[in-house]
Amino acid sequence: MAEILVLAEHVDDDVKKVTLELITLARRFGEPSVVWTGPGAEQAQARCAEYGAARVYVASDAVFDDYVVAPAAALLAQLVAEKSAVLVLLAGTAQGKEVAGRLAVKIDSGVLTDAVDLQPGDDGPVAEQSIFGGATIVHSRVRRGTPIVAMRPNAVAPEPSPGAAELSQVSLASEATGARVTNRVVAERGERPDLTEASIVVSGGRGTGGAEGFQIIETLADSLNAAVGASRAVTDAGWYPHQFQVGQTGKTVSPQLYMAVGISGAIQHRAGMQTSKTIIAVNKDPEAPIFELADFGVVGDLFKVVPQLLEEIGKRK
């Protein structure tokens, strides 16, 4: 059966949800083989098996921690050739897309990024992309080489299906060069889920009025076990850190539930959240464009609506 390579994203032995999504997706096209760089593969084997990985190629050399992007692309190029893989799937994170780009050059193959779906077609996999801020739906395919597709997190739901996830050690044939990592700093995020991976995202906008007012967004997010997002107005004003910006120039999210609180919904913001499955909006301006997208909206003062909502959530727990 044709082999599909899935580049795992993980923090030590903790496999990111997007990787389980990719393994699930790979099963539509052939046998999923996970490509694991760095430590943690033994501990993560069971999880990969649960979602249907046939194999896990483990490259645990230190080079994968010491250098960014280039070694992972080199390893994938090597495996595509050795295993005659027919498709390479990566997470559509900033780093995943960079690896995809380098790999495309190495093996002279077409690359598609930010796919929200991937289906078998007569001439190979057909990717669905949602472009121009979600306004246009495009189906594209790769017509040269081995298709390389970076999938947007949350594009498919991970579904268990047992696989052998047989571990096999591989090592990089070429020597790593390039930019060396000298230090890694993980930002304080507490227990909150990752913004692009979260099933629920609660975002706050200008309506929160300031850094102090924005705290209610964090409280609401925590009550729903959600990630916190912010509009550009908020990050530009310095009320909340820039890396949490959702929108055209920030992160693109497509969670099960997106709550826009005090966000008017300018086109730049909608570009980053339009593909969310369910959207709730709270805004005091009934004309706010966010209400055009909302499945449920409340026209009102967020500082009245949200505290009452928090109380209700508390009662129902």
Partner: protein
């Protein structure tokens, strides 16, 4: 120091953007084009690095490299008004419809000819949003990729950056020549001054065709692309939702909706 900043002209993100029905390529004619917003940070970073080099007594020059139709000259003009020294404009009808892979091929061919110590890209373009160009150029030119920088420090031929990651940042270092990409908010891009706008009119812009750059026309454009659009449609508007006015029970109503959808 020879600094080259890659700049793309993109349709205004505030306008309604479309693909052409005929070939699924971007309809550039129907909307205003402007500099990809994220490239403005790359230009600013290039200018700041050049200024620091000059202040330390070294030579430095900032070149803008653009591939695009005639209209892209407007973006080049703006970059020169901000303070870049000169520009190269790849302009050839044969380039229309090029995908990321062939674009990186073309840019790399030109960069190899012009030479460089430092190539700077924005983190992505606001139209295609692929975020692959710096990585592709580093691969093609076989130089270190020092990308997604939120802070850049140059010390002689050493370069150190803060690379933003999903959950924090990495400190990454390498030597020049290198390709870097910068993220939004690394700096505050300057507005062109009146003096800058006047000076830009006299700055050299070299226009290059595929033949000038020694590029095989079969490797680029729609025909040379490794990807193709199968079809495209406008997303249907979302079904109108339920919008209620807060009558003192707005929070309860949201909770009921959440419970009905099994979110709580």
């Amino acid at each position: 120091m020879n600094i080259v900043v890659c700049v793309k002209q993109v349709p205004d993100t505030w306008a309604e953007r479309k693909l052409k029905d005929a070939d699924g390529t971007l309809d550039r004619a129907s909307v205003d084009g402007l500099i990809n917003e994220l490239d403005e940070y790359a230009i600013e970073e290039g200018l700041q690095i050049a200024e620091a080099q000059r202040a330390a007594g070294a030579d430095a020059e900032v070149t803008i490299l653009t591939m695009g139709p005639e209209k892209a000259a407007e973006s080049i003009r703006k970059a020169l008004s901000m303070g870049a020294d000169k520009a190269v404009h790849l302009l050839d009808d044969g380039l229309a419809g090029s995908d990321a892979l062939s674009t990186s091929y073309v840019l790399a061919q030109v960069l190899a000819q012009t030479g460089f110590d430092l190539i700077i890209c924005g983190s992505e373009s606001t139209d295609a949003r692929m975020g692959v160009m710096a990585a592709m150029l580093a691969e093609r030119l076989d130089v270190p990729q020092v990308s997604l920088a939120s802070k850049v420090e140059i010390d002689g031929s050493a370069i150190r950056i803060r690379r933003v990651s999903e959950d924090g940042y990495f400190e990454v270092e390498s030597t020049l020549p290198a390709v870097i990409s910068v993220v939004e908010k690394i700096n505050e891009p300057r507005y062109p001054s009146f003096k800058g706008i006047m000076a830009a009119k006299k700055k050299p812009v070299q226009t290059m065709t595929l033949a000038d750059a020694g590029i095989d026309p079969a490797a680029v454009g729609l025909a040379g692309a490794a990807t193709e659009v199968v079809d495209h449609t406008q997303r249907p508007p979302r079904e109108a939702g339920t919008i209620v006015k807060d009558e003192g029970d707005g929070g309860v109503k949201v909770a009921e909706f959440l419970a009905a959808r099994k979110f709580i």
